[in-house]
Every structure is written in C-alpha cells, then in structure tokens.
C-alpha cells in the first residue's frame, strides 16, 4: 500500500455549527431519540452538509473489544481493509452497520463494524516487547495506516463500547439513516455542521475520533497548521480535511500518551493569556508557564466550543475569549452541554442548575467509578 491520498493544503472551516451532549454519571442508558430531539431543535445552525453522533455504552456484549466503525467509498477499499484487519486483528464479530434507506440520504458509502483485538503477530510482539507500545498504541497505528494508505476507507471510530455515526445530511437525517433510535448509551454527543471552506463529505462530518475519544466542535481552528505538524512528529496523520481532527489526536497525545489530567490538557488547548498568567499565585504561574512553554504547539487558536467524550466522561471547553456559545445544565446525575439553552430544555425542561462556563474553563464530568 502506498500513500496515494493528497497531503492537502488546509483551508479554513468557518462555521456556525450546533452541538449538544449529555452524560449520566451513574451510567443510566438513554435512548438515541433523546439526543436526536436535542440536536434537531438547532436544525438551523447547520446547512445539511454534515451531521453526526457519538454514543458510549452501546456495545456491552463486546466491551472488551475495540469497535471499529469503517466507512468504504468503494469495493476495493472494503476488500483491502478487510485483508488488512484479518492480518492484524482477531475479529470477534463483523457485520454491516444497520442502516435505513431514507430519501434525504442519496448516495451513502458502505458502513461496516468489526469488534477486534490485536493479533499477536511478529510486528505486534516487536511493538509490545521492544517499542514499549500498548494495545492502544497498536490500534492507533493501524487506524492511521488505514486512513492514510487505503483510498476510500476511513475509520469512523475505534474505541471500546462506543461508536460514531456521521455523514452528509442534517443530524436528524443521519440519525434516521443509522437507526440511532435503536441504540442506548450513557454518554451521547451530537453535531450539526455548517461547513463553509472545507468539503461537506462523509468523513468530514463530526464527531472526529480516535480510540474512544470523540470530538464535536463549533468554530474554526486557525492554528490547524502548527497543530497538524506537531502531531505528525508523534505519528498522527491528519486525513479528514477538517480542522477538528487535530483536537481528537491532541487529546490522545496529551492525556493518554503524556499522562496529563483532562484539566491540564484543557489548559494546554485553551491556555490563559500571558498577562493573566502573570497575575496568578507563584505555583499556578509556574505550572501554566511550563504548560505554555512545553505545549505551545498544542494551543488551539481561533473561536471554538467543543465537547469531547471518552469512556471516562464528558468535557466541554470554550476558547479563551468565548467566541462560540456553550451552555451547561445539571439535573440529578445528568449533565448537559449545548450551543443553546433551548436544546437542553427540549430534553430536560426543568434543570436543577443552568450555567455558562467561562472561556477556557473546562467543564469536566466523569462517570462514577465502576460504570465502565
């Protein structure tokens, strides 16, 4: 397999997207119809060129296996990818991702899912014994190879007990197509896309994922170039033609690989301005100075509101000067985050508390211990 995909030059994605998500901290399973209702309320924040969902807790029967959601644009891509997967993975189960024909979705690609574990190949043993790689590292490596080297094949998600469902259409149409009303999860996020400068294609819809990280994003990451080059040094290859992709890989690098807490990782992505850092007490000032120095290339510039989810929980984050909306609410053990309060009130009419986080202040909600 050789690299035949263009290493594109990035064009900015100025967008007015809508996003919403929620978590049940105790792991209560919620039907897909709830998140569909919430994102549908913000129909007009998108333009029909991208909708998507991430759901956690949907594959309990295979929760020990990496759930690969694959998108194929052509037959050879499917064949090549399946050969590649068979060479490198034990495939516990493979199946078509159930879809429903709907008039709004004219020419969908083919979607399949595979529940897998890395095979103990020579390459795997070498990686684990001599390169200090974990199973997760091996999976990331294979995801990058499939995305980058097999034309027309894209890994839509690759985490355990979770999945991403996305495509070209309004989110409610994508939900109908993927039959999301038939899934139940304890974390859901959704995105309604309004792309203006990058293509509205199936792989470019949100969420963007890696392992169990999933990102939905409203805004424009103008630091994409520097973020992308920084990630390439660590083996992450950006192939999805949209800025948001870097956030998924950056979180994997900062949190999983470098061991930063979600709080510290958020401070690297949305670092306070220097003049604010200067006013902080000595210890904090030292910490934040170190983060800005070490992770200057991880700083996200430009306006953004993002939700990132994983098997640990759900986090909301704004850019430092809050150039995109983000509202949060709490009700019992549920936490909601959305672009508009109305999108929350649509599915939780009387929250205990509604608030708007400050720019650069992460809202971190973790699943209770023992849920996963």
């Amino acid at each position: 397999m050789k690299n035949i995909k263009p290493t594109h030059s990035f064009q900015k994605d100025i967008s007015n997207c809508g996003l919403t998500g929620f978590i049940s901290k105790s792991g209560k399973l919620v039907e897909g119809s709830v998140i569909i209702k919430s994102i549908s309320l913000m129909h007009d924040r998108g333009n029909g060129l991208g909708g998507g969902f991430a759901a956690y807790g949907i594959y309990p029967a295979y929760k020990e296996f990496f759930a690969f959601h694959l998108m194929y644009e052509n037959g050879p891509a499917l064949q090549l990818t399946e050969e590649y997967l068979e060479q490198n993975f034990h495939i516990e189960q493979e199946e078509d991702i159930p879809t429903r024909r709907t008039p709004a979705i004219a020419n969908p690609p083919v979607f399949k899912r595979y529940f897998v574990k890395p095979l103990e190949t020579v390459e795997y043993k070498e990686a684990v014994e001599f390169k200090n790689m974990t199973d997760e590292d091996v999976v990331v490596h294979h995801v990058m190879r499939i995305n980058n080297e097999i034309e027309g094949a894209f890994v839509v998600s690759s985490g355990k007990n979770m999945g991403a469902f996305k495509g070209v259409g309004y989110p409610e149409e994508i939900a109908e197509f993927f039959r999301l009303d038939e899934y139940k999860g304890y974390i859901w996020t959704a995105h309604n896309r309004f792309p203006t400068n990058t293509p509205g294609w199936w792989g470019g819809a949100h969420p963007f994922t890696l392992l169990d990280w999933s990102i939905v994003h409203n805004g424009e990451i103008s630091s994409y170039g520097i973020n992308k080059r920084y990630l390439e040094m660590y083996g992450y290859l950006c192939t999805m033609l949209t800025d948001t992709e870097v956030v998924a890989y950056m979180l994997d690098l900062l949190i999983r690989k470098h061991g930063l807490t979600p709080e510290l990782a958020s401070l690297a992505l949305a670092a306070p301005f220097w003049d604010m850092i200067d006013t902080l007490p000595e210890e904090e000032r030292k910490l934040l100075t170190a983060i800005r120095q070490v992770y200057g290339c991880a700083l996200l510039n430009g306006p953004f509101a993002i939700l990132f989810a994983s098997n640990e929980g759900l986090i909301g984050l704004n850019d430092r000067v809050k150039l995109r909306p983000l509202v949060c609410a709490e009700k019992d053990d549920f936490v909601y985050m959305a672009s508009e309060e109305a999108a929350i009130r649509e599915i939780c009419s009387a929250p205990d508390r509604v608030w708007t986080p400050r720019g650069g202040e992460p809202v971190i909600t973790k699943l209770n211990k023992g849920v996963v």
């Binding site: 309320l41 913000m42 007009d44 604010m276 006013t279 000067v321 809050k322 909306p325 509202v327 508009e340 309060e341 109305a342 999108a343 009130r345 649509e346 508390r353 509604v354 608030w355 708007t356 400050r358 720019g359």
Partner: protein, 248 residues
C-alpha cells in the same frame, strides 16, 4: 391573544406574531416557546409580547417600539441593533446582548454573558439603556460608543462568580457604565477609568433603576442602597495612534 408555540418552526411562529400585530392585537402571549429565533424582530408598534419559555437567539432584533417580556431565561444576541421599545428578561441571558443598540431599554434580572453592550451607541434623544441585575462575563461594554450600561451584581444563581469579567470596557470610546459597589480595577481595559457619580448622574441612575425595579417588582431602596461607580472612556479615539501617530 394567545399563540401556542409548541413545536412551531421559528418562521411560522414569527408569521403568526406579525399577523397578530398587523391585526391590531395589543397584547400577545406566547406559550411553550423553546428556542425559536428572531421573536419580535423589527416590530414597530407598541404591542406587548409575553414569552413563556426560552426564546431563541436574536430576540427583539431591530425592535422599534414594542415591549417583550420573557418569563424565563433568554439566549444570545437579545436586542441586536434595537431602536426603541423594551425587552425584559426574568432570568439570565447569554452573550452579545444589545449589539449596536441605539435606543430603547433591555432589562435582564440575572447574569449576562460575554460582550454585553458591544458597540452600543447614542445620538441626541436616542439613548439605549441596558441593565443587568446579576453578574457579567468578559468584555462588558466592548467598543461601546454611547448609551448606558448598568451592572448590579445582585441577582445571580452563582454566588462564587466574580461580579464582572476581564477586559471590561475594551475599546470603549463613548457612553457610560455604572456598577453597583466596586469594580475590580485589574480587570478593566486600558481604555477606561473609574469615576465618582455627579448629582446629575445620580438622578439619571435613579430614574433607570426605578424603571428596572418596577419591571421586576424589586425594592428600589435596596437596589440603590450601595455606592455606585462610573466607568468612562479615557479617549474618544482609543486606537487613533495604533498604526501611526496622529498629527496634533
């Protein structure tokens, strides 16, 4: 006249409101509102529209004489380029309130978001007034060119939050901001300074706050019962020398 907005698309709801206004309705009550954009935009008759539920963004944009009363929380961009009339919100509201507002009043009972009062302006008798009873986010009064902003910091759901955010008055070059109690001078922009109120200021402030207290049935004595400070721009042209010094 009542309109049930349950599940109504924003365009259909706004057509119903406009038809009601054109038909001579004086009081319009909307029930089950949730997220519909542009409610009351550009209405130029003195009707009163009561909103039950959370209205969507750009409530009362280009409003020209009507009164909108929101019984719940509001979202972003309320009173965008508003000309005359009044918006009353009995909860909190979001970012960019009163953007380019040039007349009328906006009264928010609780907290407000970022960039409130951005580029408000005034001319002769057209003098917009925006009052937030709670706390405010960063960039309060950003690029403000005229009109009056008042921040009370009294009615907030978040006792731990600071009364106002950073970059207060960034680019402000006209108008006035009154704050109940003190301001955190470390959070003020370079373009503004803190002053004491004159007697004329006091009289003007009292008139605005009486109106605010009347709308929310608040005790005026309690609201006025603390000192206020006045924030003014130091220059009418804060960026005049940004690229090249201006000839004197």
């Amino acid at each position: 006249m009542k309109i049930d907005a349950q599940g109504l698309y924003y365009r259909d709801l706004n057509i119903k409101i406009r038809d009601a206004v054109a038909g001579g309705a004086e009081k319009i009550e909307l029930t089950n509102v949730n997220g519909q954009y542009y409610i009351g935009d550009g209405i130029n008759r003195p009707v009163t529209i009561t909103v039950n539920g959370v209205p969507g963004n750009d409530l009362g944009a280009f409003l020209n004489g009507a009164t909108i009363v929101v019984k719940d929380n509001g979202q972003d961009n309320i009173g965008n380029t508003m000309n005359a009339g009044k918006v009353i919100v009995h909860g909190h509201a979001g970012d960019v309130l009163g953007y380019g507002m040039r007349g009328g009043r906006v009264h928010i009972l609780k907290d407000v978001g970022y960039r409130v009062g951005i580029h408000m302006k005034s001319y002769n008798e057209n003098k917009p007034v925006l009052i937030a009873g709670g706390k405010a986010g960063d960039f309060f009064g950003e690029y403000m060119a005229g009109g009056v902003l008042i921040l009370l910091g009294m009615f907030s759901d978040d006792p731990d939050k600071a009364k106002h955010g950073f970059r207060f008055g960034t680019g402000m070059h006209g108008g006035v901001i009154y704050v109940r109690g003190q301001v955190d001078e470390a959070k003020l922009s370079r373009e503004v300074g803190v002053f004491e109120l004159t007697q004329e200021d006091q009289a003007e402030l009292q008139e605005y706050l009486k109106d605010f207290c009347h709308d929310f049935k608040l005790d005026f004595k309690k609201v006025i019962g603390d000192t206020f400070v006045k924030i003014l721009p130091k220059s009418k042209r804060p960026y005049g020398n940004m690229y090249c010094p201006m000839p004197r």
